[in-house]
């Protein structure tokens, strides 16, 4: 059935469409670098979406919980064995994603008789300074996007993840203009919340929507925060401790939110 190349391409296209539809309702995650670290944030989820992977590496993910769990376990296993046999400094997010996760996700996606990974992940590795922070977004087909400066794009100290491409692009456009990497934690928190709100509005509005008005973002944010909790975690830049990941409670964040 799949012997013909055309059929294979068709099967892959169908599969892509199916996965995109499955991921579409996934609530956004924003990761923004600031002076003292990297903040991961999402709002209102019952299932945990932000995870510690290794000393300096964190992950946020949307998708099927079973697939997220398998990928998360694989990432932790790889990082832990590398850190154990060599040292924590030898654990590199770039290698973890490029050489280990991405090829596996790609082949699962393209082997049309097997099940693909229904997951989209955002990884970050905190550096000594904001311009050494690394963000990698990994798609279900193994595709990788970085925050690094390429010919088409200036380097940026943030990355986002959302259910749809449009939602993600609106969030990115917002952070690109509204956010400075050397910001304080408070500024990072509020920028991440605004970015989340913009992504969330876009998901709810469905097709064809642009950047919402400032007032609309603010209103949406307030409505959501009135009923939902914030899930957040930081990777701290402070080099005095080995383990940089720390999850933040909703209550310790509320007082820092601009009302």
């Amino acid at each position: 059935m799949i012997e013909e190349p055309y059929r294979w391409v068709e099967a892959i296209a169908n599969r892509r469409e199916y996965i995109e539809a499955q991921l579409a309702p996934g609530s956004p995650i924003a990761a923004v670098g600031y002076r003292d670290g990297i903040l991961f944030l999402t709002v209102g989820q019952t299932r945990q979406k932000l995870f510690e992977i290794y000393d300096r590496i964190a992950m946020g993910a949307i998708g099927h919980p079973g697939d997220i769990e398998r990928l998360r376990m694989a990432a932790i296993e790889l990082a832990s064995t590398e850190g154990f046999t060599r040292s924590a400094a030898d654990v590199s997010l770039r290698r973890l994603v490029h050489y280990s996760l991405s090829p596996v996700m790609k082949s699962a996606f393209e082997q049309v008789y097997g099940a693909p990974y229904l997951a989209r992940m955002l990884f970050a590795e905190v550096g000594e300074s904001p311009n050494e922070d690394l963000f990698l977004r990994v798609e279900y087909d193994g595709e990788i996007a970085t925050n690094g400066g390429t010919h088409a794009q200036a380097r940026q100290d943030f990355a986002v993840l959302s259910g749809t491409r449009q939602s993600r692009e609106l969030m990115e456009a917002f952070l690109k203009t509204q956010y400075a990497p050397e910001a304080s934690f408070e500024a990072a928190l509020n920028a991440a919340l605004d970015a989340w709100s913009i992504g969330h509005i876009s998901l709810q509005a469905g097709n064809e929507n642009g950047q919402p008005e400032r007032a609309a973002v603010f209103k949406h944010r307030q409505e959501q925060l009135a009923t939902s909790g914030i899930e957040a975690a930081v990777l701290e830049r402070d080099a005095s401790t080995a383990i940089r990941y720390r999850s933040l409670s909703d209550t310790e964040l509320r007082s820092l939110i601009h009302e």
């Binding site: 376990m73 932790i76 850190g83 154990f84 050489y99 596996v104 383990i243």
Partner: protein, 273 residues
Amino acid sequence: MERSSVAFDQNFSGAADFPALLRRKGLLASAVIPPLPQAGTPQKTWQPTEATTILAFKFSGGVLVAGDRRATAGNTVVYDRADKVLEIDRHSIMAIAGVPATAWEMARVLEHSFQYFRRTQLQEMSVDGKVRALSKLLRDNFGFVIQGIGVVVPIFATYDSHPKPEARLYFYDAMGAQFEAADYAATGSGYPAVRGILYYENNWGRKTLHELSEKEAVSVALRALDTAAESDTATGGVDRSGKIYPVIKIVSREGITTLPESKIAAVFKETVA
């Protein structure tokens, strides 16, 4: 992190066990227990504890853990600045007497085990789980002990926040049996002297060990190690000419504090020397 290593493991039964993961990847050798010696062949004997002295006791500010700095091989001093009091996580210390190569590797496995558990299971390992994890490592190492090449006898000190917040102290034998100490623990070749002193202090000293202030506790620890070194050549005690002091760490609710050498030196000068 070679490519082949991501044959994702579907078997989740041992997912939280880091040593099991290492073994699966061929990164942790299990000690083989040699066959029992046949009648007539001379039986190899092993010393139950190897050179060093480490001690720990509970005082008013938590648990104090101290260790001398000497590493020996037979009657040779190999190193005079060895650190045998190792931080495993924010609230746990493993102090080691025994073969350094095995002990340090064990500490490394333990440290990674606790982190691996927290990351995969999304919760901190319980104190009982941690105590048991070390016990299991010792048990797995027993083949080397029988062969006479890898004896490790550790002390484990930690702070338990559940259900009742308190400092906890354990000592082990080389087979992995764990014993919870109410007041104090000591192992290593200088152990008899130290145990005598701690027993004496706790029962007939001006205060029990539990009531000691930090300064008094440091003083007791230094005196005990100095006494051990007096009769045991494998214990460094305090090197007066080289100004090498024991490593002293304190476990409390706030975490682990390493006492700076200047502070130890001051107490030593005032109450010991």
